[in-house]
């Protein structure tokens, strides 16, 4: 456990001494800020139109702002995750520092968990920026905080799955670009698999759609925690980390 924390602290440090963390934070804050501004603008215009027409349609901040925004974050996150994970192992393999880790009295799993945790913490930092925007909603309106909290939980679980898979892909190559591109491909695929359910209701389409990380986020965005979704993400995290461990072990058998 101590080793996990040592590795995690080292990884976090290298994220934050290099421009990568700041670049990601800036880009994420900008993009999310734009989404937020759009959603809010739409909400305000719609509200005014309702008033003009004299309708008293119930306006709901949670349903009309927070829920679509959370879904947006879950998709935008797919684009950021490869940039977080691509260096985790690929860089160590390229620079040879993997030899230091592999010859130190540290278990592979401690190394993997440390790196994954660092990636999770960086992603949480990205999410903190979205919280800044949401804080305005709480200042000017009265949204329900519980669905929002559930939404964040869902985002973290979803990111956990993708970060674990990204970590695994990073162990496969020395080249960060390849690791990043492959992770991006996997993330994208795990998103668009959901589309099959739009036009097809056969079993294969349902299976594919079920595999999509986005499908399982929908209930979280609504503020509902469903056991099957939580289990899906936890299984995904476990699978990713397990594959990473196998991949690290196989390095010892290849020269």
């Amino acid at each position: 456990m101590r080793n996990t924390w040592t590795i995690c602290a080292k990884e976090l440090r290298s994220y934050f001494v290099s421009p990568i963390a700041y670049l990601l934070l800036t880009m994420f804050a900008l993009i999310f800020g734009f989404f937020f501004w759009n959603a809010l603008g739409y909400f305000v215009i719609e509200g005014m139109e309702m008033q003009l027409r004299g309708q008293a349609f119930p306006m709901n901040i949670n349903e009309q702002i927070i829920r679509p925004l959370l879904s947006n974050v879950s998709v935008v996150g797919l684009f950021f995750i490869p940039m977080i994970t691509m260096r985790l192992f690929a860089e160590e393999k390229r620079s040879g520092t993997i030899e230091l880790l592999a010859t130190s009295p540290v278990r592979d799993m401690e190394v993997i968990l440390g790196k994954w945790l660092a990636a999770m913490i960086l992603y949480s930092c990205l999410l903190l920026f979205t919280a800044l925007n949401f804080a305005f909603l709480f200042h000017y309106g009265k949204p329900d905080w519980k669905p929002l909290a559930v939404g964040y939980l869902g985002l973290l679980l979803q990111a956990g799955t993708l970060l674990a898979l990204g970590t695994f892909i990073s162990t496969l190559t020395k080249n960060q670009i390849i690791a990043g591109a492959a992770t991006f491909g996997v993330c994208l695929l795990l998103w668009v698999l959901e589309w099959t359910s739009g036009y097809e209701s056969a079993t294969w389409a349902q299976v594919l759609s079920y595999l999509s990380v986005i499908t399982h986020f929908e209930s979280f965005a609504k503020g509902v925690i469903e056991a099957k979704d939580v289990i899906f993400y936890l299984t995904g995290i476990f699978l990713g980390l397990f594959l990473t461990a196998r991949s690290m072990e196989s390095m010892r058998w290849r020269s």
């Binding site: 101590r2 080793n3 080292k10 290099s18 040879g96 880790l101 592999a102 010859t103 010892r252």
Partner: protein, 287 residues
């Protein structure tokens, strides 16, 4: 080397380090080895002290003990003056020394060094060699190198491996003696009055009892260089000197042409081309 450090698994067989099997108890082995790979495993974005702290923690040190070891290895490996510099900005010599500092931070029983002087300039090479020699008192050092004079200088025990097979394991001196058959001498003769006739000198040298063959190897301006083979056990040097002087020539040099480790190495690995043969010659220094 990488198998000994538990970085790779052997395809067959096993090994043990400090009494622990690398397959059965890799954790115990890892605690007892310090390893410096060919390229020091440094994180360019870290500072020296910070990096040593990280490695120390990985090796199981903590608190005051860790700080003490950091100070100690910094002093020992002469990296104290770059303690707060980024590793990415250090020169090759410093990187190598930080790599060594990293390897000894947890005071390991066995120190494994893979070509520690590769890519350094002559001054740095000397410094690194001295440093390694200095460490020899505290750790068992296994050193792999392609530079055979380095072995002669630093190692006590040599292991020559050719294509994965153990060819020889012995001390440097014994190895040299083992392959030497006839004794071979180098002799430089000069004459102050005019040219020397190499045939005449050769005849005179070969007439000395015990000498089996004399061969002129080089003509210099005013002197001749001879390689003289003598039978084993015959002490011919005194006689050779007397013959030269008695003939009115000057004796410039007379020394035993000890075989360099390089020749020994080539002989043991079957006289392949040097590039071929030196593919994997780890040599070992034990202290």
């Amino acid at each position: 080397m990488r198998i000994l450090t538990c970085f790779l698994c052997p395809t067959s067989g096993t090994a043990s380090v400090a009494g622990f099997d690398i397959l059965e108890q890799p954790f115990e082995v890892k605690k007892r080895i310090g390893y410096l790979p060919e390229t020091p495993p440094l994180y360019p974005e870290m500072e020296t002290a910070e990096y040593l702290r990280f490695v120390g923690k990985l090796k199981g040190l903590s608190g005051a003990e860790l700080e003490k070891r950091i100070d100690y290895v910094c002093e020992r490996c002469f990296v104290g003056d770059v303690k707060n510099k980024l590793l990415g900005k250090l020169s090759k010599g410093y990187r190598q020394r930080v790599g060594l500092a990293q390897a000894i931070i947890h005071n390991p029983d066995v120190l494994i060094l893979d070509e520690p002087t590769a890519g350094l300039d002559p001054k740095q090479i000397n410094e690194t060699r001295d440093l390694i020699k200095g460490l020899a008192g505290d750790h068992t050092i296994i050193l792999s190198t392609h530079i055979l004079p380095e072995v002669e200088q630093t190692c006590e025990q040599v292991v020559i491996i050719n294509k994965g097979k153990l060819v020889a394991t012995d001390s440097v001196r014994n190895l040299q003696a083992r392959t030497r058959g006839d004794e071979s001498l180098l002799l430089e003769v000069a004459s102050r009055n005019g040219q020397l006739d190499d045939l005449m000198v050769q005849q005179k040298l070969e007439a000395v009892p015990g000498v089996s063959r004399a061969l002129c190897t080089e003509h210099k301006d005013a002197s001749l260089l001879f390689e003289v083979q003598s039978q084993k056990g015959q002490l011919v040097r005194g006689d050779l000197a007397r013959v030269v002087v008695a003939s009115g020539w000057d004796l410039y040099e007379l020394r035993s042409a000890a075989k360099s480790l390089e020749e020994v190495f080539l002989q043991l690995t079957g006289n392949q081309t040097p590039a071929d043969a030196q593919e994997n010659p780890p040599s070992e220094l034990q202290s």
